[in-house]
Structure formats: C-alpha cells, structure tokens
Subunit: 461 residues, 2 copies
C-alpha cells in the first residue's frame, strides 16, 4: 500500500475535525505514542488526535480514508506486541478523552462505556453496586484496547476472555460509516456475529467508539490455595481434576520453581520450591467456599500434592495471592540491568507439560534467564525473559527461543498468542497457524478497509 | 439471483461425486427434506445427497457453485424457523452419514466430530468419561445444525450457547475450498475470529464438515428447586439476586400459571398456580450442593417467594425437573386439534416483566391459547401458541401477536431470536434489529458466496 504523508492541508483539516488543542505534532507527544510495553522499536506517528465523540472519529476516518493516511487507535499503550505502533506513519487517534461511563444498568449486569475507560477505574465505580467487568489483563488497559486484543488474564478460566463479555459495539469503519451491532439480550441467534469479528481484530477492521459490557456479580466471598506438587505433570493432573469436577475456579495459575524461589526471597513465605498452583475461588458465602476448598484439597491430594495452604475470606485470599500479583514486579526488581520479553502462547492442557519442559530445556541450553508461569486452567503459557540491556547475544538467543516456543505451541495444536494479540511480533506465525484461512482473513480486511488505512502493518505480513 | 434447475447432466455429475445409492430424486425422500419442525410451508428440493467425507462435500459445492445450483445443508430437520428448507430449490446435502466421533481427548475436554453426530448420542458416549457437550436445544439436533443456528437451551445460563463451546472448524466454502480455523488451545488472540462468523450463519457462508467441541465435566451432583412467587416481578428479582450472587445455576426457568396448571393436572404435583422458577444446580458433592440450595432459599425468601420445594441428588432433581422437560409434550397432548408455533425472542432481563406482560395481554386480547415459559436467566422468552388446524383466524391472530412480540423485544433492546435462528421466519425483522450493520452482513455473504448458492432465501430478504 502507498500511504500519503501529512501535508499542511491535511493538518488543517484534521485540526478542524477535532480542535487545535486536541491535535498535536509535537515531538514529545509523538514519542509518547511511539512505544507500547513491548520491546518493539519505536515508531513515530506523524500526528496525534484526541477525539471527543463518535462524530469526530467518523470525520477523521472518512478524511484519512480518502487521503490514504494510516490511522492507528490508541488506548493506554499497555500492549505487549507492538499492537498500536504506527508502522506506516500516519495519525494516532488517542481515545483518552473518550472515557465516559455512559450508563450502568445494574439489573441487566450491563454498562455502556466509551473506549478510553480504564477497566480498573470502571471496576472501582461498579464496586458499590456489587458488579464488576471480569477480564483482567493487568496493566492499566482501556476497554477499547482490551476489545482490540481480546485481552484476558487470571480470571479468564472462570469468566472468559474479553470477547465473552461484550454484548454490543458501535464501530466507525474505515470509510467513516458508523455501524451498531449486537443486542442487550444476553443471547442471540440473529444474523452474522460482527462483534466477535471486530473483537480481537486489533483496530484493523474498524474503530470501536462505544461498547456494552456484560458485567458479573462481585462475589461475596473469596478463598485461595497455594499447592505444591512433585512435578509439572502431577500439578497438571490436579488442574484437570479441578476443572472436571465443576468447582469453577476463578484463577488456576501454575508457577515454576524460579518464580517460587523469587516469591520466598521477597515475601518470606517459605513455600516449597516445587511446581506450584495458585488457586482462587469466588462464592456467595463462607460455608460454600469452605466446602469448595475441602473438595479442592482432596483432589490435589489424589494428584500427590506435597503441601496445601489455603485461606478463606478476602483478606486471606489477598495475602496468598498478593505474591502472585507482585511476581512481575519482583522479576523486574531482581534484574535491574535487564529488559524483558513476555512470551505468550497457549496449548491444549494435555500439551502443557510438554511445552513447559521444552521451554525450560531451551532456556537452560541458551543460558538465558526466564521465569515460567501460566494461566494453567487455560493452557496459556507465559515466559518472562530477562535479557541484559544492549547485550545482543542475550536478545538473539531470547528471540530464537521465543520463536521456537511459538512454533512448538502451534505444532501441538495451540496458538501463537493466548492473550497478547498478533501486533507486530506474531505476524510471521500467522500462515503457520491459520493455513489458507489466513487468505480469508485478508479478504475480510480488504472488504472492510480497501485502502488499508486501519492500523497497517499488523496481523498480516 | 438466477439459479439453474437440475438437468440430467447435473444429476449424473452429482451422483459421481457421491454414489448412486447416496443420491436421490425420489418424491418421498424429497418430501422428508421439505419440512422442519416449524409451521413454514413445505419446500421440495430437487435432489438429496448423502456425502461420506469432506472431499465429497467439496466436489459437490465446487460443481454447484459453477452451475449455480442452490445447496442447503441438512442435519436432523429439527429446526423451528424453516432454516434448512429449499426456498430456491436445488440440492439438499444431508449429513446423516457423516456422523462419526473422530476423537475424544478426555484430558483436554475436547472431541472432534462430524456434523451429523446427534448431540444426545455424543453425550451418551461421553458419559463414562465424565464429560458432556453442554448446549442442549432439546430435540434430536445434530452438531452441524447446532453450529449453524448457534443453538442453546436450559443449560446456556451456565455453559453458554453453542458458540461458546466450539474451538475449531473445518469448513467447505461455496467454491469448494476447504479451510480450517480455530485452535485446540482454550483461548487465543490470533487473527480474525472466523469460528464465530460461521457459527450462527445457518449454512449461508460455508458448510461445516468437522468440529472440535469444548466439553465440560459431568457434575458429580445435581439439585433442583421449584419456587413460586406472587408476581413475575418478584420472580425476576430472585433471578437477578441468584445471578448476582455467583451461585451459577445450570438452569433458571420461569413458567407462567398456565404451564403450572398443566403440570399439576398431568403429574399431581400440586404446585401453587403462580409464576414459578425451576432452578437447577451442578456441583462436585452433596454438601456443596446443599450449601448452594440453602443460599438459594434465602435469596428467594428475600424476593417474597411463596413456596420453595428443593431436591438434592440426581433422582430428586429428575423428579422435580421431569415435569419441566415434559411440558412441551403436555401442551401438545392438551390440544390434540391444534398446531403450534414456538415464539422465540430474548430481551435484557430487566425488560422481561414488561415483555411477558405485553405477551400475556396480547394473548388474552386475541383470544388464542399460548403458554409462556422462558430461559429466564438469559432473558429468553418462549411462547408456545396452540392454533386450531386449518383455522385461519387463529393463525392470523397468532402470527400478528408473534410479530408484535418480536418487534417489542427489539424495541426493548433485545433480539428477534434468542436461539431458533433467523431462517425464513425472522428475515423481516433483520433490518429493524441490525440497522445498517445488516448491509455489512450482506457484504460478507457476497464475499464468501458470490453466486449465492448456499442456503439461499435465509437470513436476508
């Protein structure tokens, strides 16, 4: 695709669609929008705009489409695969100022929000209503970014990824046309599912300007357990038994010895340095949750667990889980001279021991540092690689291992990305994963965005 | 679209793609494939084929596409909106002989199946492995039909509709091309979601030849409660409280007085003839399920329940729920001189009392017979109308009421169809429900099926 560089006329037009103080070509602003939380190289946009409403977004896209100016939507910049970087220049549409919660319909478990709403802020507002938006990618992600990436996190094992929690979308298409799709009913068999087509499309098919979210009841009670196992295999068996039992955990995380060792050093928890499951439950009462924990203990024991620590109630849950939530931070603090790469693949749960063994072997053979943890209930593997800044050898090895782990995941029937999206970093694996269905994804892209202005250089090579 | 009528050459070619004994132009065979379980008029296909494998399906579609012969896929013929009727003639591809369970990967909660597998048969086979495929449309539906219609049922409130339970699909496109899409990992953020685009598209975008299903753990224990309320509003409040509490019911059904009266007459259950919730739970142990039932009793009491009957264990559950499962049959037996229309819409749960009041008023005013029951946890309303055979006045009034209820559902933010699909019967409501996003659905249809051979005359007017 040939794109146009912004000229003075374009700048005047785009300013006119927003306002002079909501348009910038300043270097510092462009630099702030040139990098997400990944290690992908900076890509400067030519200008940044902050629309206030759907009509402004529509005008911006219509004009950019006519002029062939690339348009990349921006949420919080918290993505991990370069998803919102301006690979082909053009403009960044920053949704920070479209951050209103438009309506909360408590009795329907629904909220209408603009894309710039940060999900943690939304959940603070919802707390007193006893509701929450369940997908939890961590970071200060916006709802718009979460929809673009189909984000998920520790709670996905119970509540699904973002796509399971979206009911309606307003979307501005490349040509500026506004469509609304979906229903406020909690289920439908009416027509083609455009919501799931847009969700996870990383801003390449359209730009979301309003979303109706499915909310969940905030559980009355919480509990947690930290359970050690002699091997990844025995921990994997416990994961299977817990899921099969219908116990419905709200988190089911597997951490390797390196992670546990780091937690012990940082918290004095004195956990066994063995493969360990962090398990969380949500429920309506203390006695309910106590019963669930007792069944969990029995299932873990039948999978040869070595140690079982449980805590019932919100405070006890928080105490046990705080080390899990702080793990990323502990890793960073433990390697002050390093940069990091968050690998992200997912495999069928039966293949989890194989991919974790392969990853561990690769890390040892390569002589690099990596921590293995995982949303085990979903078969989602994360490796957090720590490579010394400016050490080319470290990063060559890390990138090679990452590529081999991704290919291995695909060969095991899994996916190149469980939750971080394709962005720039996973484009090379799309043909391997999708075969000739990738051609049909490209045809859909051409149908919705014939000039290729929407977030070019992502998903497809 | 102009379609070709089958000539002798076409018949020879199509026979060649299958076998002489798997091709028929016989009247009785065509008649059997001219009608589903709805009241839509019979539509005779010109021929019926029974492929054995994907390659045969591909050859049939490639040829039909070149010759512009309509192709309609057929599962069990159990649909309720004329979804698989040959509106434009052409051939029916009957998947009855592609009914193999290809693989069950117990440890991954997955099964690979051909589209002709009947879900009840699959669940019989899975039972001894402690697994099941959760969507339960009733009837003897095939997996292929369930995917086409995004079917759901009483258990959807806990386990989701069909689309929440599909991981991979093999699809033959209109031009005969075979694509495979999805992953065996339980979550992914890789590329566009073609699975959800195909699921619910009623065979208009492609024909599914293999599906990887997400299975669930068969619960160790069951329980049920039948709870009477003074009004639909108080029952609705209990529904909200139960969902908000995180109790996670496996069924949450609301029945009107007419249904309860019929149940009392047929079973001697002596239930209060008031709006009644039928509630079911699945869980890992008796004590767990006992705890859940106690919390449910408290929540119902705080919503002014009048009577609460519960049963713990599979037998007690079966006793309480058998009347719910037999309700359809009781209605039919109670009106031997009648035909029936199953209305199907869904609304936000807060609008449920309003639509049920409106439906009841319309039924009374129209002087026709209808039973109101609903998957209340999903806001999915069913009215079963009983109209005298060949009584044009009955059916004029019933069709008018049905249309007004659907329009009302849409105006309340709901959908024209919660689970039966669009088929023939709901086409007229698509513009009302989807606005200009319907144009983009049509563009997707034209992209995948430019000659319009796949199940023509459905979804779009």
């Amino acid at each position: 695709m040939d794109y146009k560089r912004l000229d003075n006329h374009d700048i005047e037009m785009l300013k006119g669609f927003t306002a002079p103080d909501r348009f910038s070509t300043g270097e510092s602003v462009k630099t702030l929008h040139s990098k997400d939380q990944s290690r992908h190289v900076c890509m400067l946009p030519e200008a940044v705009l902050w629309p206030l409403n759907e009509s402004e977004v529509s005008n911006i896209l219509k004009y950019s489409n006519e002029q062939r100016i690339p348009v990349t939507a921006w949420g919080a910049g918290s993505s991990l695969e370069g998803n919102p970087l301006s690979v082909c220049g053009g403009i960044v549409v920053d949704f920070t100022m479209m951050n209103r919660v438009l309506d909360v319909r408590e009795e329907d478990f629904q909220a209408d929000v603009e894309p710039g709403v940060i999900y943690k802020e939304l959940n603070k507002r919802l707390r007193h209503k006893g509701l929450f938006f369940a997908p939890d990618p961590g970071a200060d992600a916006t709802i718009g970014g979460m929809i673009a990436n189909n984000s998920s996190g520790t709670r996905t094992v119970k509540y699904g990824a973002t796509r399971a929690n979206i009911l309606k979308l307003s979307i501005v298409l490349a040509n500026g046309e506004i469509i609304r799709t979906g229903t406020r009913a909690s289920k439908t068999s009416s027509g083609y599912d455009l919501i799931n087509l847009i969700t996870g499309s990383e801003g390449t098919l359209g730009v979301v300007t309003c979303a109706t979210l499915r909310l969940r009841g905030l559980p009355a009670e919480f509990s947690a357990a930290v359970v050690s196992f002699p091997s990844v295999e025995s921990a994997g068996k416990a994961v299977f038994e817990i899921i099969r039992s219908g116990l419905d955990p709200a988190a089911l995380e597997l951490l390797d010895r390196g992670c546990i060792s780091l937690i012990n050093r940082n918290t004095g928890m004195n956990l066994m340095e063995r493969p360990t499951l962090f398990i969380e439950y949500h429920g309506p009462s203390i006695s309910y949750i106590g019963e669930v924990m007792e069944v969990t203990r029995e299932l873990c024991a039948s999978s040869n667990s070595l140690d079982f620590r449980s805590g019932i109630g919100r405070d006890e849950r928080d105490k046990l889980f705080s080390s899990r939530h702080r793990l990323g931070e502990m890793i960073v603090q433990n390697h002050t001279d390093c940069l990091f790469l968050s690998a992200d693949t997912a495999v069928p749960i039966s293949a989890y021991p194989e991919i974790i063994a392969m990853a561990r072997e690769e890390v040892e053979k390569g002589g690099v540092t990596a921590y293995i943890f995982s949303h085990a209930g979903d078969g989602n593997l994360h490796l957090k690689f720590a490579g010394r800044k400016d050490n080319r050898d470290d990063w060559r090895v890390i990138n090679e291992i990452n590529n081999r782990v991704v290919s291995k995941a695909i060969s095991l029937g899994g996916t190149a990305t469980g939750e971080h999206g394709v962005g720039i970093g996973k484009r090379a694996f799309m043909a391997e994963e999708h075969g000739n269905s990738l051609i049909w994804m490209k045809k859909i892209k051409e149908l919705f965005d014939p000039n290729g202005i929407l977030n070019p250089g992502k998903i497809f090579l």
